[in-house]
Amino acid sequence: MKNTQMLLGDEAIALAAIHSGMSAAYSYPGTPSTEIVETIQREVKNDPDLDVICAWSINEKVAMEEGCGASMIGKRALIIMKHVGLNVAADPFMNMAMTGTSGGLVICVADDPSMHSSQNEQDSRFFSEFAKILCLEPVDSQECYDMTMQAFELSEQFKTPVMIRLTTRVAHSRTGVILSENKQDKKSISLPTDFKNWTLLPCNARPQYVALLEKQKDLQVYANTYELNEINIVPGAQKGVVVGGLAYPYFKECLSELKASHVRVCTYPIPDEKIKKLINAVDELYVIEEGYPLIENQLYRLIHETGKTLTIHGRNDGTFPMAGELTPDVVRKGFGLTINEEGVYPLSSLVKGRPPQLCKGCPHADTYNALNDVLKGHEQERLVFSDIGCYTLGAYPPYEAIHSCVCMGASVSMAKAAGENGLKYSVAVLGDSTFEHSGITPLLEGVSKKVPFTVIILDNARIAMTGGQERIMSEEQFIPFILGTGIDEKHVRLIKPIPKNHEENVQVIKEECEYPGPSVIVARRVCIQK
């Protein structure tokens, strides 16, 4: 145990990438993936000789494309994002499976089942399948470390990006890790000799797609031989269990009470041959996986191919619940094992909810107070479209200042549409970094079309919700950049949200809300946590 370090899954991935000779990491912050880049930045700060490029990207699409560019010149790169970030990056992601890779390219995506800090619990394994690339799914920090190192090798071997799928409990759990002695050097530049596969014109894309389909056979063979896809046939056991992701440790905890054979799945494509062996050996099949029923839905085909008739117990038949993350209790219950429910101490009625809230003295609170004063009495002719950041907490009392939060940048697009469709007071409220991420393009639309709407940018100079990362633009760049859209200078206003400016700020917001054209208010005060 001497050399074991306690590391977060995120930290283990960061170190593995560095030890694999990664040249650059590209990412936009998002819980629970943020600590990967923070760890790389910390390592680089402690050892500048590492010489790894690791600054935040403006959004996930850009990060994905940057990784693609690095790979094209032969460098190893790591791309990191949370699950919903992959939606933003889906366009390059899908096409990078088509171009293939030169330098090893690993895409680490962190899912958040139970939505601890997200607006949905989408399952990124579906994206790896969709793109037809290999995905590895670790369950603890040692596996995070080992699989990331393997992923760089595999990406170069199969010439496709490789996805590492994390979930919150893996990313944010600390478990022991033994680091590798064998550290690789960074790759030097090597340009492709043929540019056809990087230039996805239809005439090039068609053969590339055939080549990608061909690779599937190799990936399938790999999945069936991958050691951690373990198969264990217990003689005489009637129950078979296919277990993926974090379900595996929960399953192991009940193993002594179950007489069951099992296959563990930690690659996608799934190890079909091993699973068919299991199917042939058992009379009853359980499937537990963290996320949507992905393995489960493929089992129907595999059962069909074996010619057997078997019932599947999984999420589809309600053995395990469709929503929310797995827990040891959920897994035990699914197997019909006793759980402690009755013996559990009940929650006291004294316990009150303690939702997250804006920090005392947060600049957003002052902006919301002013905005609420302006819109009071106009409840039938106003909406405040908001976005993703600390300021989403303005939905809670005492502010109740916002009426929507959909996805990064949606505030501006939605407010623009509401404005051009006749809503009198159509207001977007979003942070400076969210604006950079996805608010710029809809603002440009609204300004060009002279739409009556108001965009309030809560400029705290930080990506505060994820821990205060720096945004892209400097303070000096910010307002000139907005003016660059061609917006009327008189309707770009700068306010300082502090209690003593309340009346003045109400006046400014009021004027711009009444103005029948596009306007932007920059409410500038630095986050008090920094």
């Binding site: 040891p328 809230q357 994820t466």
Partner: protein, 188 residues
């Protein structure tokens, strides 16, 4: 030996830091350790927990099953009550007495009363001890001392003191000393 422990409190109270200090020390003495935590939006004054499992043998799940935790270590008394569904029948609550009133708060005497109703409980006046040792931020370290006293794992107390020295080194000798003192008070 295996022990399952829930650290809990309110975002900003240092719950995650004290859990992290504890697991590093447990790792130092050669135990198997797993720790999971929920942060993100929880940083903003919301309820925060970190589940810690330590054992002589390899551990599978990073999450603790309901009704099986040996300890709840709470930086805030109402947060201790929030976690009781995890506590085993014979489990022990170690909690600070000091409430964090960033919400409409229940009657504090009643909260204390309910904690005292648990068979095994240690309700500690951390605020008073903090004043005695002139370090107002040492509450978690005091609770940690109290936990370590209950756990009685060989070498753990020393390992934690070493970790305290590392963790607070940047803040100066005085802070290190007062934390060590707080830890010792908790051990008593």
């Amino acid at each position: 030996m295996n022990k399952d422990i829930i650290f809990c409190g309110v975002g900003g109270q240092g719950v995650l830091s004290v859990a992290s200090l504890f697991i590093n020390a447990a790792n130092d003495v050669g135990l198997h350790v797993k720790q999971t935590e929920i942060h993100g939006m929880a940083q903003r004054g919301g309820a925060v927990t970190s589940q810690v499992r330590v054992s002589d043998d390899p551990i599978h799940s990073p999450i603790i099953a309901l009704g099986t935790a040996d300890f709840i270590v709470a930086s805030e008394p109402m947060e201790a009550l929030r976690q009781v569904s995890f506590l085993a029948k014979e489990g022990c609550i170690i909690s600070s007495m000091t409430p964090m009133k960033n919400i409409e708060y229940p009657d504090i005497e009643e909260v204390h009363g309910q904690i005292k109703d648990f068979k095994n409980n240690k309700l500690i006046d951390t605020a008073k001890i903090c004043e005695e040792i002139s370090n107002l931020r040492a509450a978690n370290i005091i609770l940690l001392g109290s936990l370590v006293a209950e756990l009685n794992i060989e070498g753990l107390s020393d390992a934690i003191q070493t970790r305290i020295k590392i963790a607070f080194a940047k803040k100066g000798e005085k802070i290190v000393e007062s934390n060590l003192l707080g830890f010792a008070k908790g051990l008593e």
